[in-house]
């Protein structure tokens, strides 16, 4: 026991290094009562470094004893400790479920929320089953969190409950969360629910529009295009990401070869507008999927841009479009640029056009 005595004493050494080594050795040497020793030290340890060493070493233990000793610390006043407990317990396996399940009905809403976080981070096939039980929690933050996690877990089995929640809530954030989850795991009923809820789309809340577009990106149809194009005019810059994803999703599913003249000119204007280069890059590449004759001139124009992403998008797009009359411009670009990514893309596109 003396050998252990020294180790245990070193846990309170003045030297950070010594304390850290003591933690490692206590675990490695299987000192009896290691879990208790470490948990006790975790709460009073002033050094973040040593706290992390304790947390990393506690993670090597498995089993109910550890879980049951840690869970009470979820009530700690120290945010680091609370979150460290979530971290450690999330590394456990399904044996921890029974203890965590009990916390789902804890009177403290914060503890209930932490339990949901742990269930999500455990990423077990049974996590969703338990998370679903808090969809009727009185605290709305917990409901919102649960919905988000069901989406992240792609828990399609429970979509009906989410279709129901969106119909029965006033809370903006919860509706947005439902929409974004329905974008991932939505079914036919989801599409009908959303159609019903947002029938008069002129009245959709500005903030909700973002989530609504995300839904349309995976579930929308050509009938939704007028709304998307109207948004290009009013929110083209702030909602660029969402708008572009939605356009791509809808037009891809529509499997069309030629864009209508209106869509063609709106897209051309969009690319010319004041949006970020990365968005223009994406749009240029996207255009190359269609056969309208206006597209090649647009790509040729941007192929000689000095901005890397614009040039790159255009050059790649030209390669996809496959029209041989673009070869002179490609060769010109090859002679003038030095960026390795662009040069590689140019070569690839020239190869596509030549072959």
């Amino acid at each position: 026991m003396d050998e252990f005595r020294e180790l245990i004493d070193n846990l309170s050494s003045e030297d950070e290094r010594e304390r850290a080594f003591a933690v490692e050795d206590i675990v490695f040497d299987s000192v009896p009562g290691a879990i208790d020793l470490l948990i006790e030290r975790l709460s009073i340890e002033p050094s973040r470094f040593v706290q992390e060493v304790i947390v990393n070493n506690l993670k090597t233990f498995k089993g109910l004893e550890l879980v049951d000793k840690l869970l009470p610390l979820l009530n700690s006043d120290d945010a680091y400790i609370r979150n460290a407990i979530i971290d450690i317990v999330s590394c456990q396996d399904e044996n921890a479920f029974s203890s965590i399940k009990a916390l789902l009905s804890d009177p403290d809403k914060d503890v209930r929320k932490f339990a949901v976080d742990i269930l999500f981070q455990l990423r077990s096939p049974y996590s969703a089953e338990l998370i679903v039980t808090v969809l009727k929690d009185p605290d709305i933050n917990i409901v919102i969190t649960a919905v988000e996690y069901l989406g992240r877990l792609e828990a399609t089995d429970y979509i009906a409950m989410i279709n129901d929640i969106i119909l029965n809530t006033d809370n903006l954030l919860l509706r947005c969360t439902c929409l974004e989850v329905m974008a991932v795991i939505g079914n036919q009923q989801s599409i009908e629910t959303v159609r019903h809820l947002y029938a008069a789309h002129t009245s959709i809340n500005q903030l909700e529009l973002y989530s609504y577009l995300k839904f349309l990106a995976t579930k929308g149809s050509e009938a939704d295009l007028p709304l998307v194009f109207s948004l290009i005019k009013s929110k083209g810059k702030t909602m660029a990401k969402e708008i572009i994803n939605t356009l791509q999703g809808i037009l891809e599913r529509a499997s069309i070869e030629f864009l209508t003249p209106e869509i063609m000119s709106d897209l051309a204007a969009y690319i010319d507008s004041d949006i970020n280069s990365i968005n223009k890059y994406e749009l240029l590449l996207f255009l190359a999927d269609f056969q309208n004759e206006e597209i090649l001139p647009i790509l040729l124009k941007y192929a000689v841009s000095e901005e890397k992403l614009l040039c790159l998008g255009a050059v790649e797009g030209i390669g996809v479009l496959g029209k041989k009359e673009a070869l002179p411009v490609l060769r010109q670009v090859k002679d003038t640029v030095s960026d390795s990514d662009i040069l590689e893309a140019v070569d690839k596109s020239i190869e596509n056009l030549d072959g």
């Binding site: 945010a79 929320k113 933050n141 988000e148 969360t177 903030l207 973002y210 909602m239």
Partner: protein
């Protein structure tokens, strides 16, 4: 004006992005306090404010704020806490760490924008 949004929930990050972008701000996001510090120090662009959660893995919000305040470059940067923790002791802890404003979730968009504008002197 560029604002850093720090939250481990993707949905909250998204929602705060919508609120801020809608009001004309540029945003950059981080998944926890450690990621936030990395983005702040690793970015060559000026960041004008941080909006942070408290309970996050890796590095919680209080630690993030305290580390920021230790650096003279960031001792005056406006910081807003947005958290589910709603007790007085949590708010006191937040102000003690160095936050300027404490808002309880779920976020009320107008309230957030009001406070941001107030802090940025607009």
């Amino acid at each position: 004006m560029k604002i850093l949004i720090v939250d481990d929930s993707e949905m909250i990050r998204n929602f705060h992005c919508y609120i801020l972008k809608n009001a004309g701000f540029e945003v950059i996001t981080a998944v926890d306090g450690a990621d936030a510090l990395e983005k702040l120090y690793g970015s060559d662009q000026q960041i004008d404010m941080a909006i942070t959660d408290i309970n996050m893995p890796n590095m919680d919000g209080y630690t993030f704020i305290e580390r920021l305040r230790e650096d003279s470059e960031y001792e005056d940067m406006p910081i807003v806490i947005v958290s589910t923790e709603d007790e007085l002791k949590d708010m006191e802890r937040g102000y003690q760490a160095g936050a300027n404003v404490y808002i309880v979730k779920p976020t009320e968009p107008e309230l957030l924008i009001e406070n941001i504008c107030m802090l940025l002197g607009k």
